[in-house]
Symmetry: C2
Subunit: 398 residues, 2 copies
């Protein structure tokens, strides 16, 4: 049985071999240290755990995969059975890295830096300067290239074993949400709800993906801070929309889903029309965007279809992207189903890859009631896409 | 009441003002995006939570503190009351960042890159290239400088409110350990112990700091993988040393402690002499190093005293540093109580700051029994240092 790191390294070698352009990279180098401080996202793919000392991971067009790590990380790397060579050192990486690079003599070295794609931009500037000091005479001056296309495609095209893990954490996230909607929320503050979710998440053997401070986002009613708000002392009251956004991880893979309830007032049996109309508009827009998503389409076009559908329903456009990749990280991959805004760089222009997992998300503020935000997860197939999550088609009445 | 971010920004302004050298930085710029992917550790100090979009944090010698963030992060930043100005944007940070920098016109811009100090090296190479594109004509060519000394000192000199939080998470870590040593470990595998610790940590309202996969490290007996080993299927047996290394966090601050037990064999009432002798040697060495640690001494000298004391007891030197900072991160700060090895760069040469929190750690392999690793936490005072943890002076008999 091959593990995910083995699959990803094989995939990386295949991507290097398949590139027959003049600028094709000979050797892809990930150079990292103290990943508990600054973590290159590429490490997730080609290692799956962190390192403390200077570490170099070299993958070549000729099929070599060489890890150079501190002595104490050696055993963990060898156990992966993913590298053709695992070299260790005690005092400094310089000599062994240099010897290896002199032997490989790459003319075009791919490094993890990118102007537009943060997941392909894990090499720090200090580490780049160190590489240039160590290898300035080994690699030609014009041979220091961005490996962003390899990193992007490696992240975006999920192996079947990766999809299984994403499905599992998504299923568990839905179970956590089911318990959250059983909480006696009337009178509870956003902070209190945020706190008790910790125990529910532990019960389902998941972890919060990334920072806990605003995970889950809890928006109780119209005065809550929309966006990436930190839970406040606002209390849930009848007549309010209760909105959650939560991203969990398990076995190294993430989920990202939003869920929405309406807190009934005395005597109410359904949400007010204003709330229901906004809910329906959100779903019309999400389904319109979803129907567009397939490998041949432009990423920005998927966003535009959803955006326009929402506006046609009479609501303002959402001020974010319609979708982002999910995988090892909550914001994964290098493309985005987003508008052609400056801040998204060239991410909305990248091709959509089969086997990618996207969230689809958008929302509407309902004056006087609160925020409706919906978010589901889909996998891209040859023909289009399919839900990975169980879509919340109905507003939950509380 | 001032919050920690306010205190840290005031401290940063004071550090900028206090530097009267010719190369003194006018303006310290932290430039980050998608911190869930690549997280600049400086963000912990000057913000305390993550950002999604391009974000710039400018702190000047003249006392300005300006945050430029995406619209959705604006509220969270304003609520800190730590910035003199909070600017937001929708489509791209370029215009507002440029306008601000033209107004400030820094001649010496400090950025988060460092060859030797990973906690001061959070700026990615891609983000550095973007800054040069955006501001290449605003900042002089020789004005792109490392801010590592500011970042290092800001991290290392803990405010009293930071010390309180570190003490609290350390106390809770000791409570978690107390429960771990009550587990019926005989016959449990390293993996099983690793798994159940999850519930104990949640019960004490702490989180694992960083990756869960090898946290805690569980070493059962002589065949276990020493170092940063991932827990295996090896089962705890009588006659073995059981060694734990665990790093937790709570309210944004971390602990890092190792604890050791001996699993008694049928009829045994104490650990074998070979084990006890190694235990005592570890403590002689740790106390010797601890007695040396004070602001006036060289960091590498503290390591050397401990290292030589262990060797004088007849054991081989440990192949790591004697101590590292702990704070927002488990490996914090920019100096290390370590040997003058290449891989530590200039970190062993940095001055020791009052108010720093260090772990003190070292270990010995006991042939046939397993690994003894001890690790405690201390705070540096004017006169020397004091334990923050309750030192484990006696081997726990199981």
């Amino acid at each position: 049985m091959t593990n995910i790191v083995q699959q990803k390294i094989e995939q990386a070698i295949a991507l290097l071999k398949a590139d027959t352009s003049a600028n094709a990279i000979d050797c892809w180098l990930t150079f990292a240290r103290e990943t508990s401080q600054v973590h290159d996202p590429a490490i997730d793919l080609i290692l799956g755990f962190g390192v403390t000392w200077d570490s170099a991971f070299l993958i070549t067009r000729t099929g070599e995969a060489i890890a150079i790590v501190g002595r104490f990380d050696g055993d963990n790397v060898r156990k992966l059975n993913a590298y053709t060579q695992v070299l260790t050192y005690d005092q400094g990486i310089g000599d062994v890295l240099r010897e290896t690079m002199v032997r490989l003599a790459p003319q075009r070295l791919g490094l993890n830096f990118s102007l537009s794609t943060s997941s392909a931009d894990g090499l720090t500037h200090g580490m780049f300067l160190r590489l240039q000091r160590m290898l300035g005479d080994v690699v030609p001056a014009d041979g220091w290239l961005s490996a962003e296309e390899i990193v992007r495609r490696l992240r975006e095209h999920k192996a079947s074993s990766e999809l299984d893990l994403i499905k599992e954490v998504t299923r568990r996230t839905e179970q956590v949400y089911a318990e959250m909607f059983k909480l006696p929320v009337r009178g509870m503050s956003e902070k209190e709800i945020h706190h008790v979710v910790g125990e529910i998440v532990a019960k389902y053997d998941c972890e919060f993906a990334g920072e806990r401070i605003n995970n889950p986002i809890v928006n109780a009613g119209p005065d809550s801070s929309i966006g990436h708000g930190i839970p406040s002392d606002l209390q849930v009251q009848p007549g309010q929309i209760l909105h959650y956004d939560m991203w969990l991880q398990r076995d190294g893979y993430c989920s990202d889903l939003q869920r929405v309830g309406y807190v009934l007032r005395e005597g109410e049996t359904d949400a007010p029309d204003l709330v229901k109309r906004a809910w329906n508009a959100c779903w019309i827009a999400l389904e319109a965007g979803k129907a567009t998503l397939r490998p041949s389409v432009a990423a920005w076009d998927v966003d535009q279809v959803a955006r326009e559908a929402l506006m046609e329903c009479g609501y303002p456009e959402y001020m974010h992207a319609f979708g982002h990749h999910v995988g090892k990280r909550v914001h994964d991959g290098g493309s985005v189903l987003g508008p052609r805004w400056d801040r998204y760089g060239d991410m909305p222009y990248k091709p959509i890859e089969i086997g990618s997992v996207f969230t689809l998300e958008l929302g509407v503020i309902v004056e006087g009631y609160g925020y409706i935000g919906i978010e589901e997860m889909v996998v891209v197939t040859a023909a289009g896409n399919a839900y990975l999550s169980t879509p919340q088609k109905d507003l939950i009445l509380l």
